[in-house]
Subunit: 340 residues, 2 copies
């Protein structure tokens, strides 16, 4: 049984901000990171919530992120924005490039944001959801360190390569999904390791290429993609689009920051935003309402929408506060208070 | 054992063209359809090759396609082209809108083509591959008649909703995939039915919502998506992007043409094209070569690239001609020669 500590949104944000600035993140970076992870924690996304503060600090200590990098935003083409994160965290680069992305999508109908050279640890859904809240349809993807074998292969090559999508729903929370193209997010395996639990046998192979239920072995071996050769193809697409297409590296060319400062964790992220109003004009409201039929039919079958649990958690957190596992809370307050 | 008849590309094209024009397709439509299905047959894509001539004729007889519709191409926004197929086949609309899509992608970096009100029966890969041959990166998707249950559901709601992607490889065939988000393409179940073969038990549920190995029962029931809830989310994304976003219907609102002329088979298709040169300028060649590392590493693990078998088939067909199952060939020549 996990015991939780409940914080207000302000308390959770302050804890995050204090930890990040204490270890050297600039105020703009600390603010952008805090907005992301507190939103994720509020939605009970424990693997990508405040837990990530630990790796943000670890990565900084290991030279894997520039804590005060100033993103350089470039207007590359009528429908293309580039944001060079300069080895800083991707989140500030996204926030600073976002207005130009919105503007280009609204002017041209579709636009692309390429984030380069970024340290990336976060869930993608807050980014696509923030675009859907502006009325845009949005896609985001990023390659990451090579933990996943391609279908038919046996060695790590692909990142966990998440894909996120958000669709604006008039008067309702957006339809959003955000999934790793690996069978599960690597963070899930890490949480199992921390909890001393075994993993299902279709999540990963060990270094010997054979199926394993040991999270330690899985983290040393290769994860598997979801959906066999189709999931593997999708993962390769993400490597290409958020890698070479935007002039950045492939997932297997990034390495987590290490104690020896030998990591090279920076890579790319791609976002695409589409403006339904530019495509549909006065008929937009009709067609957005029309899309609701799809969601209603899913629910009428007793199935759930991808983001449904998360929005339910958000409602709960708004009423009762943000829940953090007590062990994590202790770890975070130690991080905040322990002598440097 | 299937016996094959071997035709030259010209013979296969002539057979297709004669059948299509005999039953009333205009010459431009017959030419566009022929280019697509002969290319697919050449690559040994039997489910979407010349076999589809039968349904092209059936659909026409049942009032499900306008055989001489003239597509209306509209320059909707700086990065958006719309092609109203006017209830004609999607392929001619694509071909006629393609130059403007290419132009917009090259000018703005990314562009979107919305095809509306189209009869669609074809594999998507020839379309994205034709864009990759022009040096662009391309995505295509389309919803179709509702045959697939959402994850956690039990009734048909989603189309087989294929997703296709193509990536230009300097001096080589593009990296291309084209897969249904259903466990298999519906055409595969139809081929099993025609061959009197049972299907694996994870492809579909019957009308009772339970798993089935009987293709007849599966065609009356609901297919399943690949990759459980992730595949289901992806399929919903395709419904939304190639449906309401472009002012068109949802998959379950289309119905195959029937003998009673009660079908409503028309729907939308969405393509996105990105110009790597506009994004990368002089560094494009470096980054496209860099992407080759990904493909080399997949092959080095003994795994295959998604399009590899198809390109191998293409090589064979170039040397020895196009293979068509003899039973299908007999059916097609009857279609060409039988009294009307």
């Amino acid at each position: 049984m996990t015991t939780f500590v409940t914080l207000t949104q302000e308390e959770a944000s302050q804890l995050s901000h204090e930890i990040l600035t204490r270890y050297g993140y600039s105020r703009p970076h600390a603010a952008a990171i805090t907005r992301n992870i507190v939103a994720v924690q509020r939605d009970e996304g424990h693997s990508h919530g405040l837990y990530r503060l630990i790796s943000c600090v670890e990565t900084l200590r290991r030279g894997g992120v520039s804590p005060d990098a100033v993103p350089r935003i470039e207007d590359t083409a009528p429908s293309v924005v580039r944001a060079d994160a300069n080895n800083g965290c991707s989140l500030l680069a996204f926030e600073q490039a976002r207005p130009l992305l919105l503007d280009k999508a609204r002017t041209n109908g579709i636009a692309l944001l390429a984030i380069n050279n970024s340290f990336h640890f976060s869930a993608l859904w807050p980014e696509v959801e923030s675009l859907a809240e502006e009325g845009l349809v949005a896609l985001a993807m990023t390659p990451s360190h090579a933990f996943v074998a391609p279908a038919g292969g046996s060695r790590p090559l692909l990142g966990t390569n998440p894909l996120a999508f958000s669709w604006p729903r008039p008067g309702r929370d957006p339809f959003t999904f955000d999934f790793a193209t690996s069978m599960v997010a690597r963070g899930e395996i890490e949480l199992h390791r921390r909890a001393g639990k075994s993993i299902p046998d279709n999540w990963a192979v060990g270094e010997d290429g054979l199926s394993t239920t040991d999270p330690e072995e899985a983290l040393r071996g290769a994860m598997l993609t979801f959906g066999a050769y189709k999931g593997s193809a999708l993962s390769m697409m993400i490597e290409l689009l958020a890698g070479p297409l935007i002039g950045d590296v492939l997932g297997h060319e990034t390495r987590p920051a290490t104690a020896e400062n030998s990591g090279r964790p920076w890579h790319g992220e791609l976002l695409i935003a589409i403006d339904p109003h530019k495509l549909l004009g006065d008929t937009m409201h009709y067609h957005l309402e029309h899309a609701e039929i799809l969601f209603e039919e899913v629910l009428a079958q007793g199935a759930r929408l991808p983001s449904q649990r998360r929005y339910e958690a958000r409602m709960r957190s708004k009423e009762t506060g943000i829940n953090i596992p007590e062990a994590l809370y202790q770890e975070l307050t130690m991080l905040r208070d322990a002598p440097l």
